[in-house]
Subunit: 99 residues, 2 copies
Amino acid sequence: MEKSSSTTTFEQHLEKRYGQVGEEKRMAFEAKAKAFAIGELIKEERRLSNMTQEQLATKTGTKKSFISRIENGKSDIQLSTLYRILELGLGKKISFTIE
Amino acid sequence: MEKSSSTTTFEQHLEKRYGQVGEEKRMAFEAKAKAFAIGELIKEERRLSNMTQEQLATKTGTKKSFISRIENGKSDIQLSTLYRILELGLGKKISFTIE
DNA sequence: TGTAAAGTTAACGAATAATGGAACAAAAGA
DNA sequence: TCTTTTGTTCCATTATTCGTTAACTTTACA
């Protein structure tokens, strides 16, 4: 069920999570859904690394409560936070694709 | 000189801008350099779209001064800001790759 | 050259992310 | 079931982005 490594567009995440919806409705929760999608990605990677939220938190110098909020898309995090979690915490390389 | 569309890792951006450097030195300015790299990406895309900072700012509901700060890596922006600029402002789709 | 357009920087409040702690809920194991 | 681990939510405080104006610098071009 877990993907081991992936390129995931936000649209794909939306699709996977909410299914096909109208363009208008989509716009409504897009921002929230995107934050959620990033969180989902982090959660997946963390689990693949066999880490608890607390371990990830310790490694990135924060607390498990913060990790939880991020994974559940409840925080509009800064780019540096994203890097810290993914690279420092999970040892992953992250890159952007713009098209 | 301008790339029309691209997948760019932060490392590639670092290489392009600072050349090969020692691992320790790199760590020192990594965060700053990454913010800068994102800014560079945005600047490239904006220029390819033949827009001024002011036009981009208007389109995304902010001011040119803020766009300038972002493009020059002086602000550790939030994810929502990144989407707003790239998608709403420049009509680009952005996706992440984690490896 | 001079002038206007485009871009940069500083400074300021307002909004909000980041942080830490604690209490609670859910999941996993014995 | 009981116990422990793991994860979630809430609260208060601190730190920083965001939005904005204004002044300054650089670039473009007649």
